[in-house]
Symmetry: D2
Subunit: 366 residues, 4 copies
């Protein structure tokens, strides 16, 4: 495996602060070392549809602070199983389009790919690795749930955004002597809720990893009211659920008449607080606000470090690696590391103790 | 009517940025002129329950930048019709507690009240005016719908917050080639949606004052897609509704199975865009985020001007006035001016033309 | 005078938040009405050097939130007196290049110019008006000192920036029991210092319009210390000066050994506080921070209104008008209105009373 | 050594974002475990002057987001060498007041001290350790230069603030085709300039650790201009200096006629750029802006972790430890670790390579 002469770069999966910052670092670093760069539009979709264009210094100038991705992205565009038509019942028919992608890769003379995305994006690049293309993954999630790295880019900005939002809700909760329930992203991993919960001084934090009890939440709210606290803030990850209860999935079918599915867990928690205590409760769902905006300074530095490391690996003739942060060192792991695994909050996570010590409850008794 | 020696001040109705800034200005200005100040807790509720305490310089130090109200507030605490018990069917029984309030006012020697709130708060002060207490109202709303003033405090901060949120959503919409529907406050008056829509460069603005057509929205989204626009942003006031359709009211009954009521108008608009176009749509409801946070500089100046004018009126021996902004002059109107009327967007509002000219559609044909 | 078919637009003078927002509104509004738009680079310099390029929807897409101007700007590029060479002593020789500019205007078929800038920019357009080109001015300043309009765009954002900065300094001043002196823009007009001073709860405000007394400042600082205040914040406009003293001009000659000129007025005030009281004093000069950044929501709306009005005037066949805000109405005045006059703070400005009433001193006795 | 029953907590040295957040965590965590807490006002000064007061939940409620320290702080209040009088020549006479401090510690029954501060604060606690008081240090600096910990709290917020400021200056630099020189804190360690420089996409970064060459800076500015870059941003640490040149110290004597001392290094760099290139240069000194404001989310989490670990150590009967972050683990080191050493940027720091790779120059040739 030799040093690449021209590389392709793409961004896949959901939007995330810092995508452009990584694109910029990869592009500038590659150009600096005499490697040409092509941008692939809308993730693997652009590879399938042959939407590939050269990137120069000018292309990435001024994008460091801009949210989103100048290349566009796509969800669920898997080259090995792409929905190309529908059957008689209207169900999608999937086709393996990886050969078509390889033809486009060869047409543009790309020796290597930098794939910026989550687990799905890493996996989606598999066929090209097998065909001899060098692939480096750069792990991205809001949720920080990619296995193999202590931190993904985008997460710190999402925590910032969530924390600022909870700060803002605090004053209203205090003025009205209310409980305010804030729903944050995190289907299986509650890192945003845990960090933003601590950072905002939330009083109750509900995580997917720790099934909660409505009775315990109600008790915490009442106890606070009785000792004079003017407000209770509940930070709830979207994937949190009561012990024995089902996870509340939102946005599955917007016209479904099922109120729980429609409302999300925050609404449910607020309703239960009102039913079980004498405290008024309101809820807010931050949703996509957490995906957007300019990356925070720490994320911009991390993105630049990650992008630099990706091209460094390629220049060293390496492939099938995912850039990773371990402790505070940028390093790399096998690109298959995250496949089928998620980095959730372990029971012995120190932040859990920290939260408890500053008097936060997790909605679980004890 | 003579110059008061001791005044009471209260904040009523929903939370709003700048309440503390007005409290600070009223208190500092009064103390500066040798007038004593008492803070009444939780709006009229504190008057009913005799929770009244003196305010000095120290009490209001450092609160200028803090959202919410240090006095607390209450919704719907009308002294003339206060729910004191429930009848056999569980319905509330209302009682006139204005005499009790007057007793507390006399007990604390309050010659005058400054009532900071919306229309309901102005009206709630009526019995005391009749009993000879000087009353000055300071108009507060997020929505800027108080009749008699061109601007209420809190509105500009809400517009700022909404605009920043839409900025943040823009990058995600662009990255995913999506329509993003953002629901903003405004049940009957769409000022937040109109101003934040223009300030954020939203492509479609839906207002309570102009019933819209789903077909027209879909057409705007499709037209934009066809001419290469990567995203469409729809700013929708919570009270907007389709022509011929009912207003979607949220939060009335969180456990109701009615999906439209539960979902709010933003969800509905997003669902219709997905049903009528080939564009993916997502929605976000800003909700209480718009009520909180530190007031913006303009609001802090306005609050300080309003608070100063309120005490100036009292020092001039005047009563039954509501502070108002006309053009850019602080002045005052009869306190009954807003009763039963709302300042909605008139059809000839110049901002409507401005929005149309920069290519914003209002979801109405033509 | 008929409706223009193609217009030129330029931005002149110092950077100011909202320039891009006006450019966007002018361009979109003109295109919407079938008028072509050309952007002139770097103010009148681009007219002299024939750097003129067409603007379309794409050119102004996404610039609403971006500080600065995509066209670039230039200071002091007066077409009638442009420095083209230097004489034997190295002094500039000025030439009248207005004919050359007119040739370029005709070459590009521009019927009209929209000149976004301050007083100098309005005046600079004179020769073209005389030659029959329709000219509309859009008033821009950080300082809000353009005569003929109650508000220029950019000012509110500068006040926001200054207020946020003072908020930030407040906590340090409190922690260290210090006086903190913050220098804000405003050579002849103190509007930024007055508004940001009130918005930030500054304790002393020093304005160019009101020569101050060091003794009075020292007395205010000492009085505050004695009654237990932990900090004193002084907001000083760069053009403020002591009664009988000369204005301190900064940045004139960076290598000059004159400490007052070098240090600016904020350093001077801090030094005098330390010399006259027992209170430690520090100073910060915000400088160019006030010119940059994304415009606040109110400014974006104002810019959009101003840009819309500029093209509306052109479409109505009018010329030689400057867009203006009077009260809260967008209107227009003769473009020569601001020439040779500045909108400074009048002695009867209501904000002065408001500031005094919330206990702010102006550094003047009494 | 046994578990303490009552502890004192103080904040020393310069203001820093997150002081209150640590105070809150220490207090809440101690109270939660049945340990009483006393706050010592203004650092060691309060210990000397016996200004010590109990802290309860209410005392630390709502302070998480507030910059500064509710206890106040003092610089250079060393118990072993405190200036108590002046000699005939007006020079301070220092006295050892540690016995007086110990008497106050005993009077209030404090078994342990948590000292939040920098190297000086750790050292200042020495006499009490020797007298048998348990002491835990929590390392605080803007500059991140405390030896023994990878990160101090406050640093990330300062980097955020600096980055936002440079973002804001970028648009002005671009509009005017200027070089903009921004001076950031860091006398001996350039971490803020390095991180904020990378995060903001600065083109030249000048660090105390790497003496620079004006010729190299000028060359970088010119080279950028020639290849069409519209602006050059220079991030300079206050302690950076040209090779062979002396460090520029500001604020030593505000009335000194020495222009270099007065102006600071940023002014000097701007002047040299103007003298050596055809590019206009401006400078801004952020100064105290970097010390204030609400801590960012990451800092709030770090502060809470640090405060929790401090009390955990005390509860485990340990003393003479300084809380530290190593990698991303909170741990602790001997409290004497930082004495006489500073954590500066080593020549093999990976961020230096990262910066070079994205095309940042360090003002040194090569």
């Amino acid at each position: 495996m030799s040093i690449p002469r021209r590389i392709g770069v793409l961004t896949g999966g959901g939007d995330c602060p810092g995508l452009n910052a990584v694109l910029r670092a990869v592009t500038k670093d590659a150009l600096f070392h005499g490697i040409e760069v092509c941008g692939i539009e809308d993730g693997f979709l652009g590879l399938i549809e042959n939407r590939i264009r050269p990137l120069d210094y000018e292309s990435v100038s001024g994008i460091l602070t801009v949210g989103g991705t100048i290349l566009g992205t796509s969800n669920k565009a898997n080259p090995r199983a792409f929905p190309t038509s529908t059957d008689a019942d209207g169900n999608p028919v999937f086709e393996d389009l990886s050969d078509r992608c390889m033809a486009h890769i060869e047409q543009h003379g790309l020796d290597a790919l930098v794939c910026i995305g989550g687990d799905g994006t890493m996996t989606g690049a598999h066929p090209f690795t097998e065909a001899g293309v060098s692939v480096i993954g750069v792990p991205k999630t809001i949720d920080n749930d990619v296995f193999g790295t202590d931190l993904t880019f985008g997460h710190l900005t999402a925590v910032d955004t969530a924390t600022e939002a909870i700060d803002r809700l605090h004053s209203t909760a205090l003025s009205h002597h209310r409980a305010m329930v804030v729903e944050l992203m995190g289907r299986n991993a509650g890192w945003i809720a845990l960090s933003a919960g601590i950072a905002s001084g939330s009083d109750v934090i509900l995580l997917p990893e720790m099934p909660f009890s409505y009775a315990a939440i109600a008790e915490a709210v009442e106890r606070r009211r009785q000792r004079g606290a003017r407000a209770t803030i509940v930070a709830v990850a979207e994937g949190a659920r009561p012990a024995g209860g089902a996870q509340v999935v939102r946005d599955v079918d917007p016209l479904s008449p099922d109120p729980i599915r429609l409302g999300g867990i925050a609404r449910q928690v607020a309703a239960e607080i009102e039913a079980r205590t004498s405290v008024e409760a309101r809820h807010v769902v931050l949703g996509h606000l957490q995906r957007g905006g300019t990356p925070c300074a720490e994320d911009r530095v991390l993105c630049t470090r990650f992008g630099h490391h990706a091209t460094t690996l390629l220049r060293e003739g390496r492939s099938n690696r995912m850039v990773a942060l371990v402790g505070n060192q940028v390093t790399d792991v096998d690109i298959r590391t995250p496949a089928g695994r998620q980095r959730t909050i372990p029971p012995d996570e120190p932040l859990l103790d920290v939260a408890r010590a500053v008097y936060t409850s997790f909605g679980v008794p004890g």
